[in-house]
């Protein structure tokens, strides 16, 4: 697998995981770029399509969490929802604010599922968990999201 292949085939999934932790798409892009560079640096010969995504997403998760930890003291995340003027849920900002309040495992499963193929088997392989667990996280996380969206936009 060439570096170009790695980026072409997995950047979307890496971006999805980064977006699950980042404040916005711009930050997610920065993180994804760093993740892909790290991956290419550390494992230039891997061509196993079955495990490389899982490995990449582990790097993505670690990098995103490190990034989050570094900026947390001065720039907390998730952002506090604006009380006076709630952002419409169906603009991504509103959806993202609700997603940010989900526990990590649910947020990750949801973002990866909806942004990268909408396929439980693929999400399971990428996260290194079973399809049953993906379905469970998807349903539970999605119900939590439903409650949060209703709360933000009654």
């Amino acid at each position: 697998m060439t570096p170009e292949d790695l980026i072409r085939d997995h950047a979307q999934a890496v971006l999805s995981v980064c977006l699950a932790y980042a404040r916005n798409l711009h930050d997610a892009e920065e993180l994804a770029q760093d993740v892909l560079m790290k991956a290419i640096t550390k494992l230039p010969t891997v061509r196993d399509p079955g495990s490389i995504r899982r490995w990449l997403l582990q790097i993505a998760r670690r990098t995103s969490l490190d990034h989050l930890r570094r900026r947390r003291p001065i720039d907390p995340l998730p952002p506090e929802p604006a009380a006076a003027e709630p952002v419409p849920a169906w603009q991504f900002e509103g959806l993202h604010a609700a997603l940010a309040r989900l526990p990590d495992v649910y947020r990750e499963a949801i973002v990866l599922y909806y942004l990268d193929g909408r396929d439980c088997a693929g999400t399971a392989t990428a996260l290194g968990i079973s399809e049953v667990t993906v379905r469970q996280r998807l349903a539970r996380g999605r119900l939590m999201l439903h409650d949060l969206l209703k709360e933000a936009n009654p």
């Binding site: 010969t45 995504r53 088997a121 999201l145």
Partner: protein
Amino acid sequence: MTHGKDCEGMREAIMTFVVGEAEEALADDVRRHLEACPACRLLHDSLANEERMLRAAFDTVAAETASIRNRLVNRWTNRTSDAHQSVQGASREDDDATITQDPTPPTVRLVPDVPTELTDSVSREGRSIEQPPSRWHARRFVAMLRSKSVRWSVAAAVAAAVVLLAVEFRPGKTGRDAGIAFADVIQHVRQARTAAYRTVWKQAGMPDTVTRETVNMSGKFSRTEVLGLDVQPADGGSPVETVTSISIYNGGRVLSLDPRTKKAELIDYVSDGLPHQLGPSATLADLLDLNPANAVPLGVQVINGSRLVGFRVTRDYDKFNKRTVVVWVDPETRLPVSVEETTKIRQPDDATIAALSAKKESQNGILKLSPDEVDEVMARWPEVTTVRILTNIVFDVPLDESMFSLDPPPGYTLSITKVPG
């Protein structure tokens, strides 16, 4: 209208059904329940409506991420092809007027320092695969991957490496952790500003690579010198160690020097105009970014006359890719003096990939394998072990700024590559 007691248990099933991931038996149960339960029908309709909007919102984001993905691919492709603006046939002194180069590069906008050279994807047999090789690529690959260190006495460094190996492979533990917590060590490492060390890279089928490196722990700048033992003195004595290549990373730019050909190449990663904030990977700080909770005390050893305290930290990327880091710490300073990293990776096997590709469904060139299938395939691949031994680590060494200058020494021919925006 309220949900009955049974309905609480149906919420998750209804959600799975709405997402479209319910298996047939579960879908039948949900349909039957919805026919009989108006409250759950309301919940279903609300969730289904929400699902349509959610998917539309994610579709919008997916279009954005697809565009970002294309941008990342293009950025990569440009780095390795038409971005190369070579300034040929003139020395650096002659070219001052024509090369635009900020003499004081910014240090806050960083990109990882080792992308372009890795397009060579040098295989474990040392041959280049997938991309056409170039002198610069191969040299930079070795320079940046094979780690780094400072100017230490050859004899002392080799002796330390030998002792470290002996300790690692014949451990006669004489004590426990001597009262030092590994978290304390990591805390001290995080406070260090600079470090210097020597590294030996070992991998089966490849010659060892020896480097010395001087780094800023925040990753803002580093200097790597790849060492060779290829100069035989006229009097027949031991080969003399020479510097075969130098890589200087400084604030998002990398200067690569070849002392033999007097060629210098500068890669400017900050020229794409993006606000890069993350430092380079593969620094000592990155290597020592370990979770103290996973540290196992190895006790006290006397190594090279010094009493050191050892820890082993294992980190598994997944079932088959494992990394173990052994750290020997000076109990006085609570800082590591040597580190040995062992990485075990399953090496993919071309024949297995080809056979699977013929059988399995693939999507965008990616085989769709279940986790069990992945495990089964990977278990058959040979394990490749790489060992990186860092010795003579000294933290907070005073650094001479000139060591990290991006101006090539006199007499070098310079070429510049800018990463396009």
